[in-house]
C-alpha cells in the first residue's frame, strides 16, 4: 500500500502536535509547519518553519514539497490565532493578524495543495472552525468572524474541488485544554461548556476521532460539512 501523506499546519504545539503524533503512530508521512521549530523528531516527519499567511512562503513550501512527494492525501488547516477582546476595543492590527492566519492561511493552503491533492485516490481537506461561531460568543467577534469565513470557504471549496474528488469539511471543537484558550477565564469556559448538549471539556482524542472519520475512504460522500463537538449546532 502506498504511503499516505498528510499536511498539518500549526503542528508545533497543541492540537496540531497531537494530530501530527497521531498520524505518525499510524504510519503516515506527516508534513508539518508552524512559525516555530518543531520538537517532533521522527523519520516520517518533515517540518517547514513558515508563516502560513505568507503567499511566498506557502508557495515555496509546496514548490519544495513537490520535489519530495508525488501526492498529498490530506491537508488539515489547523493553524489559528485567537484573541479575546470587546469588539469596540479590538485594534485593527489584531483584526488583520487573525484574518491573515485564520482565513488567508486556509485559503493559501487549500489553493496551493490542489495539484498534489488531486493525485490522491481519497483526497481530503479539513479546516478548523470554532463553537464561537454558532454560539456567537461575546468578546470573540473577530475570531468568530474569521472562522465564519473559514466555514464559508469550506462549503464553497467542497463544491469546486468536488470536481477532483476532494472532500472539504470542517471541525468546530468545543473548549479543549490547549494554548489557544489559556488566556480565557475559567468562568467563561464553564459558561460555554454549560451551553453544550454534552457538558464537559473536549479532548484532542475527540477531534482526532472526527478527523479520522473525515479521512476515511468511506467518507467520500461527506463534503461541505461543519461538525461541532459537544452537541452544539
Amino acid at each position: 500500500m502506498a504511503v499516505k501523506n498528510i499536511l498539518i499546519t500549526g503542528s508545533s504545539r497543541g492540537l496540531g502536535k497531537e494530530l501530527a503524533e497521531h498520524f505518525l503512530r499510524n504510519d503516515y508521512q506527516v508534513i508539518g509547519c508552524s512559525r516555530s521549530a518543531s520538537e517532533i523528531e521522527h523519520s516520517n516527519y518533515l517540518h517547514y518553519q513558515i508563516d502560513v499567511s505568507s503567499p511566498d512562503q506557502v508557495s515555496n513550501l509546496f514548490f519544495d514539497l513537490r520535489k519530495k512527494i508525488k501526492h498529498l492525501d490530506a491537508v488539515i488547516n489547523n493553524a489559528g490565532v485567537a484573541s479575546m477582546n470587546a469588539f469596540a476595543l479590538t485594534p485593527v492590527k489584531t483584526f488583520q493578524k487573525i484574518f491573515d492566519v485564520n482565513v488567508q492561511g486556509t485559503f493559501l493552503f487549500c489553493q496551493k495543495a490542489l495539484g498534489l491533492l488531486k493525485k490522491s485516490p481519497h483526497p481530503r481537506i479539513i479546516n478548523m472552525t470554532t463553537v464561537a461561531v454558532p454560539l456567537q460568543l461575546e468578546g470573540e467577534s473577530i475570531y468568530a468572524a474569521s472562522k465564519s469565513a473559514v466555514e464559508t470557504l469550506t462549503r464553497i471549496i467542497a463544491k469546486e474541488f468536488g470536481y477532483f474528488g476532494i472532500t472539504c469539511n470542517a471541525i468546530g471543537p468545543s473548549p479543549i485544554e490547549t494554548s489557544l484558550i489559556k488566556g480565557v477565564p475559567k468562568e467563561k469556559i464553564d459558561q460555554i461548556v454549560g451551553r453544550q448538549a454534552i457538558q464537559k471539556m473536549a479532548t484532542p482524542a475527540d477531534v482526532i476521532n472526527l478527523v479520522d472519520f473525515y479521512l476515511s475512504p468511506e467518507s467520500s460522500m461527506i463534503s461541505g460539512q461543519v461538525i461541532y463537538l459537544g452537541g452544539i449546532s
Binding site: S59, K118, Y163
Partner: protein, 98 residues
C-alpha cells in the same frame, strides 16, 4: 524559456487532457485552440486542472510561477482564452521571475 518552449509545455498539457477524453472530445493541439470562454474547450474546473498541470511542468524545470489571475473568469480579457494568449501570459510571468 522562450515562447516556443512555453507553447510546447501547453501542448503537452492539452495532450494530458486529451488522454482522459473520448475520441469526440479531443482538444486540437494548435496555436489557435480556444481554451476558455466563448468556444472554449475547457470548463472552469477543467481550466483549473489544466493550469495546475502547466504550473507543475514549469516547476519541474525549476520555474515557480502562479497562473492565478483576477481576470481568469473574464470572457474578453482573460489570459486563458486561447493557446496564444496563454503563451504570452506565461512568457510575461517567466520574464518577471528573472
Amino acid at each position: 524559456m522562450d515562447k516556443l518552449e512555453i507553447q510546447r509545455t501547453i501542448f503537452d498539457a492539452i495532450e494530458m487532457v486529451n488522454n482522459l477524453r473520448e475520441e469526440d472530445g479531443q482538444i486540437p493541439v494548435s496555436e489557435q485552440t480556444d481554451l476558455y470562454g466563448n468556444n472554449g474547450n475547457l470548463d472552469s474546473m477543467g481550466l483549473v486542472s489544466f493550469l495546475i498541470d502547466i504550473e507543475e511542468s514549469l516547476q519541474d524545470r525549476d520555474i515557480q510561477i502562479s497562473l492565478s489571475d483576477e481576470r481568469a473568469m473574464s470572457q474578453t480579457k482573460s489570459p486563458f482564452r486561447n493557446v496564444q494568449t496563454l503563451t504570452d501570459y506565461i512568457a510575461t510571468l517567466v520574464n518577471e521571475t528573472k
